[in-house]
Amino acid sequence: MADNKFAAYICSGCGIGDTLDIAGLEKIATREGKMALVKSHPFLCNAEGVQLIKDDIEKEAVTHICVAACSRRAKTEAFNFPTVSMSRANLREGVLWVVAEGAEHDEVRQEMAEDYIRMGCAEVKKMSLPQGNAKRDQTQNKTILVVGGGMSGMTAALASAEAGYEVALVEKTAALGGFAGKLWKRVPFSSPYADPQATGVAEMAAKISANGRIKVHLNTTVAETGGAPGRFKVKLAQESGVVNDMTVGAIIQASGFTPYDMAKLPELGAGQANVVDQAGLEAMACAANGGAIKRADGKEVKSVVFVQCAGQRDETGTHLAYCSGHCCATSIKQAMYFKDANPEVDTVVVYDDLRVPGMGEDFYRSAQKKGVVFTKGKASKVTGGDSCKVEFTDLILDEPTSVDADLVVLATGQVANAGVNLDAWTEVNTAAEGGNEEAKQKRSEMKTISVLNLDYRQGPDVPQFKYGFADSHFICFPYETRRTGIYAAGPMRRPMDMLQATEDATGAAMKAIQAVENAAQGRAAHPRAGDLSYPIVRLEGCTQCKRCTVECPFGAIDEDEKRFPVFNEERCRRCGTCMGACPVRVISFENYSCDTVGMQVKAVNVPDEDEEKPRILILACENDAYPALDMAGVQRLTYSAYVRAIPVRCLGSVNTIWITDALNQGFDGVMMMGCKKGDDYQCHFVKGSEMAYYRLSKIGDTLTQLGLEPERVVTEEVAITDNARVAKLINDYAAQLNDLGLSPMKGFG
């Protein structure tokens, strides 16, 4: 490898040169940053400026550059030099735009800029160019496995095949269609949203069998899944007992839902004659085939009552706590079955809130026009029999009342078919591994509902979120499960209707395609899509503590027989949580490591006590907090010139060594800014910010040992929209530190 050559380029455009002493900065880059080449330019991002850098790379054999200009998030197209390592010193958003104007601030402003130059130079010296996953020749499989042959699965299979990918579609029953296949009609997908439509299942199934790229496996389940994106190894078990091995590139799990067991609702007439759930009504409608719907006793239904939210949105903790989202529209559709066959049938829908997403309002209005009566009420009791009775509280007239009918339909909810709950599993599995026979027995029972039977050390299925649905970030990245290369589609990830399920399936197919393409090129998947770096571990130093294996949010790390970590690069999302977790710091990325950040911390010039200039280190998540800081600059909100901000991939990647080093060096405070954690997390790496909080909770002792107050290290949740708040947080913290006084560690560092 050729020798490394370092260069720094300082931009004086955008007003930087008017306010900062560029010559002074150049001097810092040369003397302290030890850059071989240091140049400034009045407009670095224009063609001429960019050419200047390119020429140096070509003619001067520059291998590492520090661009001191705007934020690393700006001008990424201009400053795109794929053949060299690059750091960015943020002089514009990070200094010029956030430090108060005026000559009285010149000194601190210049000091801030100088530090960012020092930090940029220090960082780039520790970086090397990522080479991509070395094993990518083994991750070239691009077949997409779709598990589940219902509406979501069929849609995903067709979408993938139409995009040119081979598909294996696995369905455990003898026919495609899933729940949709049992319906008489579906809620309309298209304008005018006035009448039920044919389900479309038969057409889809025909399209699938006519598509040469899709291979359908009926009566088949997934007996085992191992590997990683681009090289998943699956065993497909047929009912007959035959097991086929196959390799696939990505997996779409579309395992659907099961209706909530109505037997759990005896107070709503479960088990009594002529009380059915929505699935039961579909069967009756299929039997009627468009004619009058008849009860089990053969009597034609002349009046029907639909009871919404049966066993749903339950606040007592007995039944489903959530709204299944589809069942209001489903009841509207089913009421139309009756009205369309015979307008004289009395149809009453007893609802609390009528929730009809999408174009459902039109459908609702259409039902009203057809004469379906909607009564706002809460049902308390249903009695079945020849003449059924629904007792309810009328919520508008505020009184108990009742209505009689030939048939009662309960709108029960969706229970996800998401497989094994990993929290429960881990507990049982640990006991089983410890030799507990009972636990072993329990473990194999639990496994019977597994969908994927993953051989991952983290358990056999994708992790679940609330209420047994598969975790998939509901705001920013639906379909992404916490297992890279495995995508969730349809009501197994959140309750939804059929139209939403088809949209979901299309989205998941796109994700799966991305995953196989990235794996084939040795790159990361979402959210650092295209990143060629991956964790490199110096196993010689590893103490087999297992922290990385446990803390990796994506189950990327297995263990070998000797309990050393085995990285599955293709499963890795490049968050660096493992790096933050490792107590002996043996995990790193080529362009992001304990050193790239650690050396930046060390590069900061911490003034002596008598200068009375505190220093605050900010470790800001690059996904939300750092952009918010930039935006604060764009809006010209000012904050303390004593802060030095370093972007991190995720708070999860923060190694506590950075914090203790900073404090030892005389920093007065450390702020960590990351995404929201917990149940409604916003962390782009799911668990990263949570891990940071957890680790920080243990840092207290260290602080006390150093004789420092716990307030010297704080953690804040910051969203990307928090630009104003982030400036205030900084200023408030600076004021708080002012009250606390300067760090006693100064001068010892």
């Binding site: 026009k369 004469g371 009566v373 009564t375 508008i396 007239l397 009342t401």
Partner: protein, 207 residues
């Protein structure tokens, strides 16, 4: 109870919604209400309604016929049209309320002495006389609708206003002898009688 009411009960059994749809002005829109409550919150007389428009529409669906038609709720409408322009479902609420009031009145179910009902009747009778409203005879009739004694009290209470209007040239004492009128009075009488006959026929209200 009137014969018309007995006939209606027999005809519609318990289907009050259908009765309203067939017999009340714009009644076929009642079913489109989504119970949001915006109308109830928009009415200037909101607190005075025994049953708000929202509740009225629910009562119709719930078959609370007697309770609704004998209540004085529909008589609280000032015709401000607030509800109409705000209803997300575009129900012609004002017209439905007017229609319900009219229907209850036709069926003789309105409580005795309901003041708005009395005013609307006096108004219509006054206009029917000569084809136009005679404000003087209308006001006098209003003041004396509860009898002579109450009438004198009412007139005295509003005496200053009356005198003021008189002085301002906005109340003409000569109107008591006739005043403005249409030339084609008898034609108008026949026309209205015909209209009512047609409407009653359409609504099944002919005895």
């Amino acid at each position: 109870m009137s014969d018309l009411n007995t006939q209606a009960v027999a005809r519609y059994k318990n289907n009050f919604l259908r009765e309203v749809e067939e017999r009340v002005e714009e009644g076929n829109m009642v079913k489109m209400c989504m119970q949001c409550g915006v109308c109830a919150g928009s009415c200037p007389f909101g607190p005075h309604w025994q049953h708000s428009p929202q509740k009225i529409f629910m009562m119709i669906r719930a078959g609370k016929r007697e309770e609704l038609l004998t209540s004085d709720s529909m008589w609280m409408c000032t015709s401000c049209y607030n509800c109409i322009v705000r209803c997300p479902r575009k129900l012609p609420i004002t017209h439905i309320i007017h229609g319900l009031a009219n229907y209850a009145h036709r069926l003789k179910l309105v409580p005795k002495g309901q003041p708005t009902r009395d005013v609307t009747k006096l108004f219509w009778d006054n206009l029917m006389k000569v084809g136009r409203i005679n404000e003087l005879t209308f006001s006098l009739a209003l003041y004396f609708k509860d009898g002579l004694v109450q009438g004198i009290k009412n007139s005295l209470a509003m005496q200053s206003a009356g005198l003021g209007l008189l002085k301002a040239g906005r109340l003409n004492p000569m109107e008591i002898f006739g005043g403005h009128k249409c030339k084609e009075q008898s034609g108008i009488h026949r026309m209205i009688a015909k209209a009512r006959e047609i409407e009653d026929g359409r609504r099944g209200l002919l005895a």
